[in-house]
Homo-oligomer: 318 residues x 2
């Protein structure tokens, strides 16, 4: 049902490029403008959220919404909120008290460029903006109930039982010798730290669906797709950190080993980690096939884009 990776790659690339422009513009419009004396904060907010990033979360949201006939404008707002949460987490993660990193997306990190205090406020402010954007989604015609569901999904995925909880587990694991860490707690940590927001990206697309009802089996399969993808994303991240260069990544490479962080590569070796990513990729695509088969009303283009994003995540070089 779903095209092969090679066949869909060109079409998909064109779609991605088009969406990246829409996303960038929409984030820019959602950022606060001039007047205030807090000009420096506003500059830093733009620095942290514009001009870069793979926008995987935004793209997942747009594609999953498309598969359910959602209003593209509603999805775009949800996509902006997701990218704001992601950007805030990177800004705080890079700070000296966390990962202490100086390079992100090929540029100095926010605390290097604007100071630590402003970096802290940028993260805090982006999180608030994300929820402001979701609250404003009703202006795109979405029902208040659906908007509120989106707020609930994003808050849970990014809070202490989601992303923030994953980061806390990550903190606890740093420095633990790999031999003491099992694959399962590592997986749980990633499931929260990166997986929860990637799953939320697909779910926010579903929140924007055209009709109120959502077939439970479609819901389950698209969530399952997101879960496999979230895990694959992290496995590939570990592989790239161990094998790519800082230049090609746009962020510091080899950091995991330097920090003695347990990773898929340190626990499994690089070959088996690559195989795991391939297998998760296949499972994600299988979920899409099953969803397409079980629900003829699903938008074919949306599903193709979801498949294309799975390829993008697993085949990426940075």
């Amino acid at each position: 049902m779903v095209l092969s990776a090679a066949m869909r790659s060109l079409e998909h690339q064109a779609w991605v490029e088009q969406q990246l422009i829409r996303i960038e513009k929409a984030i820019e419009q959602a950022l606060p403008q001039g007047e205030l004396t807090a000009t420096r904060l506003f500059e830093a907010l733009a620095y942290a959220s514009l001009g870069g990033g793979k926008r995987i979360r935004a793209l997942l949201c747009l594609a999953s919404g498309e598969s359910l006939g959602a209003n593209p404008e509603s999805c775009l707002q949800a996509a902006v909120a997701l990218e704001m949460i992601h950007a805030y987490s990177l800004v705080h993660d890079d700070m000296p008290c966390m990962d202490n990193d100086v390079l992100r997306r090929g540029k100095p990190t926010v605390h290097i460029a604007f100071g630590e205090a402003t970096a802290m406020l940028v993260g805090d402010g982006l999180q608030a903006l994300a929820f402001e954007v979701l609250a404003g989604m009703h202006r795109t015609g979405l029902s208040a109930r659906q908007c509120l569901q989106a707020v609930d999904v994003l808050a849970r995925a990014s809070g202490p039982r989601g992303m923030v909880g994953g980061q806390a587990i990550d903190l606890a694991l740093i420095g633990e010798a790999s031999s003491f860490v099992e694959l399962e707690p590592l997986q749980k940590m990633h499931q929260l730290k990166t997986g929860a927001l990637l799953q939320a990206s697909v779910q926010l697309g579903l929140c924007c669906r055209a009709s109120e009802a959502l077939e439970p089996e479609t819901d389950r399969l698209l969530n399952q797709y997101a879960k496999h993808l979230g895990l694959a994303f992290q496995v590939i991240d570990d592989v790239l950190d161990a094998s790519a260069t800082t230049d090609s990544l746009g962020k510091t490479a080899g950091k995991d080993q330097a920090q003695q962080k347990p990773t898929y590569v340190s626990l499994m070796g690089i070959g088996p980690a690559r195989e795991l990513a391939q297998s998760l990729h296949k499972q994600a695509l299988d979920c899409l096939d099953q969803a397409a088969h079980g629900n003829r009303a699903l938008g074919r283009e949306g599903l193709e884009h979801l498949a294309g994003l799975a390829d993008l995540i697993v085949l990426r070089q940075r």
Copy 2:
């Protein structure tokens, strides 16, 4: 219409004590519990948000909701969200890259007790929890539209055009010799840094109102009350910082002068600052009188509690 400060103080005190117990319990119930490996984060979330604080924001929300016949359970959830936002801002504010403070509510600050990385995550997590709590308010019978309005109000008040923006302006003002700072930018800074969330506290109570409609004049007067109160709150904060001891405050006293922060006291002198607070107090009470006079449907008890909170803020010793 509204009782004198002396007459209402005893009754009011009983109401406050009762509400403090409700609020504490509700925050505790909204915090994430056990299971996760992120136990330390969960402990720190409780440490940061329970067992202290004046709960002014929560009380304002409960009282303003009461004046409009709101469901007390809805207001309680909104109150929890407000206190979570307030608690997160204190945790981040106390960190070394911001105010670098070691004492809060008479206890070591979160980064002293749990480390900086955890303190950062506690703040981030509390903000997400606040929005999760608002999204869950519909379970108390509030319409999705009203819940969504509450999300919008809280996100704006705490974001870059609200609290976070005020903190950024504050950062920019630190170290500026008082002689170069005018009263107006100082006022603008406080209006955002503290005033916005205090106003949002009253507004969230209004969001929970029993009927969908809200008389514009009542809305305006209660907002005006909140605005005067927010300013009075900050003037008193400055007076206390300059005149009280660390023991009585439960946080470091004399910090403003040590940091060469422009304050109402440094710009006006302590006597005129006290007079300004008295005048704002009177204006706030006048708004309540006018609101009661113009709208007979307003709950008298709610208004009395709002008046009592105005007394509490201006007459407080910490």
